[in-house]
Symmetry: C6
Subunit: 77 residues, 6 copies
């Protein structure tokens, strides 16, 4: 289940907004680790992007990943 | 999936209540990162704003984002 | 989506139990930030107060908010 | 929504197991803060105590509350 | 609601894997605190062990409990 | 319920990406602790890998486990 592509070299980002983008990326990569077929993921994304329960559940995952990124960056203070 | 608009310059807010508002904004921006069409989001918001399960799920996302904002601000102590 | 009323001046409370009450209030205010009509919220509250899944989901939100309040107060030690 | 009964004087407990019991109590008190009728709660408890999804959701709330209690007690070290 | 059996004397374990086992035990004990009949729990376990949504929800509870155990042990560093 | 195989010797990994892989492994091992039959798990995995709600729920578990791994590694700073 290992991704050979190195997509996460560091949790450090220059700005909080880049930290948000990294959190979104981390969440997507988790989904890709389980559903490895990009065509299936593309089809599924169209389904859940119009389902509010799943949009909110995705926002929760992003919030959790961002907690980790924000701490790694000491909140960019 | 990157938002070109810079909406998150800092996690620092003057007051706890502004920290709450930032947490709500962060949660909404996560939804916008996945469902990029504002018209679709507007329609969906009307649906979920009257669905208690989804209101509670949204409150959970806000609680998680606020944990991050509160820590960044050292709880405004 | 900003609430003009200042309802959160500080995360500091005199006692742990007041901290619980603040956590419950924070959770309710999140719901109010999304569903701004108090009549709609009143009707919805009657529905979900007898739905165990939603009572448990609400308890989860309160637990998360209380984590933040407790840390702000250094656990009232 | 305030409970006049003082049920949470401190987050400090003598042992980890008492900390677990406090976490369970905190979770139950959250449910009571929303559904204030003990007869309704009693009936609902019989329903959800045989529903695995809700048992697992309850265990998640207890886990979150216990995180807070454990930190308050510095893990009883 | 108190368990008279002392099953949690300490959060300290010798190894990370024993920490995982303790987290699984803590999650199971939460379920037992709500559904006190072991025969009912046995029957329910057979049901949810083949339901992926509930397996994933159980994994989330274990992840939360393990966060607490890991911190108590300072990550076994 | 104990796994005799030692699969978690340490939370320390050389890189953040290996930390992600460990988080995914920890999440899978939790599922295996509850559903011990690998054939049943294989069949279930095919089911949930095409169900967006369950993919998102899995991503949430990975996010939680990664929080623990990241802290153990001091964010690989």
């Amino acid at each position: 289940m290992e991704n050979k592509e190195i997509w996460l070299e560091s949790l450090i980002t220059a700005t909080p907004q880049e930290g948000r983008e990294l959190a979104v990326k981390m969440a997507r990569k988790s989904v890709a680790a389980i559903q490895t077929d990009p065509e299936v993921r593309k089809k599924l994304r169209n389904d859940y992007a119009a389902d509010t329960a799943q949009l909110i559940a995705s926002a929760q995952v992003i919030a959790l990943e961002f907690q980790t990124v924000a701490r790694a960056n000491n909140y960019w203070k």
